[in-house]
């Protein structure tokens, strides 16, 4: 079983549209949306949710108001400024402390040091994750709650579930829509994957981000390919990107032109392959071929 992760560094390069197109081209794959922060793949794949689960990413503190003696120890030991002197009155004091749930890191230090045993420490439901059926095969995806943390943990969970499903259903490939950035969710998206495909575009910003993600993939020693989307908005820069990454021995396996079909397909809720049969689809098919060959162990470039 192989795992392909599609990432972009910077968002908005067309990563999810390419993943959706791959989903409709792959013969026997499980789809995983690890862009948990801004999940969009479901808008194209229209998953039929079969199983719904709570995601518990960690714990969170909360003050039991009746017990608080207003001593301020919690605020003194909290390194995240999450304990604030702003709680309601009780029988003991005029003002109690309370915990700002958004700021709380769930470290439990205040819980331990509260002299009145007035702080509860409970599992925090940070979101939900789903196992679904789609017209292209099974899909694992999630919804992170608003202002929630632990997205890295959720990403790892989705990948683990996708692997289990792939094993159960004899699927030979997992296609992961990865997270943007170079921080904790994207690290959780790519560690130990078989292949990373970076979708970039010829802009100074995207080029800058591309270098950072390539460095990251290199840091974790994961084989990497690059696809330049909208290459024709700045051909000179597209050529420069290709030259630069060639120096790092990374192949450009696709050059996709700017095409309004991408947005039109999105509005129609279809993958590019389903929506049209124009040159763009052909380009994406040849990109898919190159990626599949590389997954099968052949050198491409």
């Amino acid at each position: 079983m192989k795992e392909l992760v599609v990432i972009s560094g910077k968002g908005g390069t067309g990563k999810t549209s390419i993943v959706a197109a791959f989903a409709s081209l792959a013969e026997n794959a499980v789809l995983a949306d690890c862009d948990v922060d801004a999940a969009d793949l479901h808008l194209i794949l229209a998953p039929d949710i079969k199983q719904r689960n709570d995601f518990i990413g960690g714990k969170r503190a909360s003050v039991i108001t009746e017990k608080c003696i207003g001593c301020g120890k919690c605020a003194q030991v909290c390194n995240f400024d999450a304990a604030v002197f702003d709680g309601p009155v009780n029988d003991l004091v005029r003002k109690t402390y309370k915990i700002d749930p958004v700021a709380c890191e769930g470290c439990g230090v205040c819980v331990h040091f509260c002299p009145a045993d007035a702080i509860e420490f409970k599992d925090a439901v940070n979101g939900q994750w789903f196992i679904s059926d789609t017209r292209f095969g099974p899909m694992v995806h999630a919804e992170l709650g608003i202002a929630e943390e632990n997205s890295g943990k959720l990403v790892s969970l989705i990948r683990k579930q996708a692997k289990q499903i792939a094993a159960q259903h004899n699927k030979d490939l997992i296609i992961v829509d990865g997270s943007p950035g170079i921080g904790c969710p994207v690290i959780a998206s790519i560690t130990a994957a078989d292949l990373v495909l970076v979708v970039t575009e010829p802009t100074v910003s995207a080029q800058h981000d591309l270098e950072r993600v390539i460095e990251l993939a290199g840091h974790f020693k994961i084989p990497t390919l690059v696809c330049i989307n909208k290459y024709d908005i700045n051909r000179k820069m597209a050529a420069e990107i290709a030259r630069k990454i060639d120096n790092r021995n990374i192949a450009v396996v696709g050059r996709i032109p700017y095409d309004t079909t991408v947005t039109k397909a999105q509005i129609a809720g279809q993958s590019i392959i389903e929506y049209s049969n124009n040159g763009l689809s052909e380009q994406i098919k040849s990109l898919w071929l190159a990626v599949s060959e590389r997954l099968a162990g052949k050198e491409v470039g």
Binding site: D37, V77, G108, V109, E149, C184, H208, E215, H219, Q266
Partner: protein, 306 residues
């Protein structure tokens, strides 16, 4: 809706922090933040631009700042003095992140997992745990023309994004307008970047993906109780659903920047659209009027509070 007839009055510049955010990446958030900073400066304001998109800071591409100081940012992780340690195991018990464990006679730390809560140090009965700074990234400070420029950059392979953002935000002062370039998404780094700001501008695109991510971002700013408005970038490429959504939710649209190949080209090579494209100025002037009204409202609130 605010009226759009007011003009921007320079002496009102002090103490206003605007966060430019977007649920989805690649909506043009940095372009808008940088151009807004530049346009405000042209209008006579003192402006500080703070790039809090520390995983992929791109503000410098547009603002081309002259960096004068670079600061290494560190966080403290535990340093165990094995001579003092009695192997009581208390540090491992309090740590919620598996970053310090005591196996038999031996204490081990796993620095990448540490959240720097300080719990182990506080609990250690033998006073065996000290602090060790580890670098998570850098903050560069300089000038981009008249704009005060601050940018953070996370070290590759590091996960302490919110800690670095917090340090970047320490550079906010109350004698100028601060513009924060917020990382994309809606999770912890975003929360850290927009906490406590005066106003949030949510940049989106009129597409199904844009709308989906905008809804998440709106949920976030509403939960944090921050005043906000939407900016539609590449107006015209998609459909009407973003505007319909804003209308039904009673959300102001502060600016619509048209989809224009020229803007895309200027952007692709790192140029400033307010400098190079005359028609963009008009849009930013409207945005300024809008923000001026938002600021008036805030000042009124501040006065009432005093």
């Amino acid at each position: 809706m605010f009226s759009r007839t007011l003009v921007w009055v320079p002496e009102m510049s002090d103490n206003f922090t605007i966060a430019v955010a977007s649920g989805k990446g690649g909506t043009g958030k940095t372009t808008i933040a940088a151009n807004l900073a530049s346009y405000l400066t042209e209008a006579g304001e003192n402006v500080r631009y703070l790039d809090c998109d520390v995983e992929e800071p791109n503000g410098h591409i547009f603002l081309k700042a002259n960096i004068t100081t670079v600061e290494n940012i560190t966080v403290d992780v535990p340093q165990v003095d094995l001579d003092k340690c009695t192997a009581c195991g208390k540090c491992g018990e309090i740590c919620q992140f598996g970053a310090i464990v005591c196996i038999k006679e031996h204490v081990m730390t796993f620095e990448p997992l540490c959240h720097s809560c300080g719990g182990c140090r506080r609990i250690c009965p033998a006073d065996a745990i000290g602090k060790k700074p580890v670098e998570i990234g850098r903050i560069s400070v300089g000038k981009a023309g008249k704009i005060d420029f601050v940018t953070g950059k996370l070290r590759i392979g590091n996960v302490r994004t919110p800690s670095l953002i917090k340090q970047v935000k320490k550079h906010i002062t109350d004698d100028c307008i601060s513009i924060i370039d917020v990382p994309p998404g809606t999770s912890c780094p975003v929360v850290e970047a927009i906490r406590g700001v005066d106003f949030v501008l949510l940049v989106t695109e009129p597409t199904p993906f844009g709308l989906n991510d905008l809804k998440l971002a709106v949920g976030l700013v509403r939960q944090l109780g921050l005043p906000f408005a939407v900016i539609i970038n590449r107006h015209g490429i998609g459909d009407e659903r973003v505007e319909q959504y804003c209308q039904s939710e009673d959300i102001d649209i502060a600016m619509k920047l048209p989809d224009d190949r020229k803007i895309a080209e200027v952007y692709s090579s790192g140029g400033m659209i307010v400098d190079l494209l005359h028609q963009c100025k008009k849009h930013f002037a409207e945005l300024l009027d809008y923000l001026e009204c938002a600021k008036e409202k805030l000042n009124e609130k501040r006065r009432l509070r005093i």
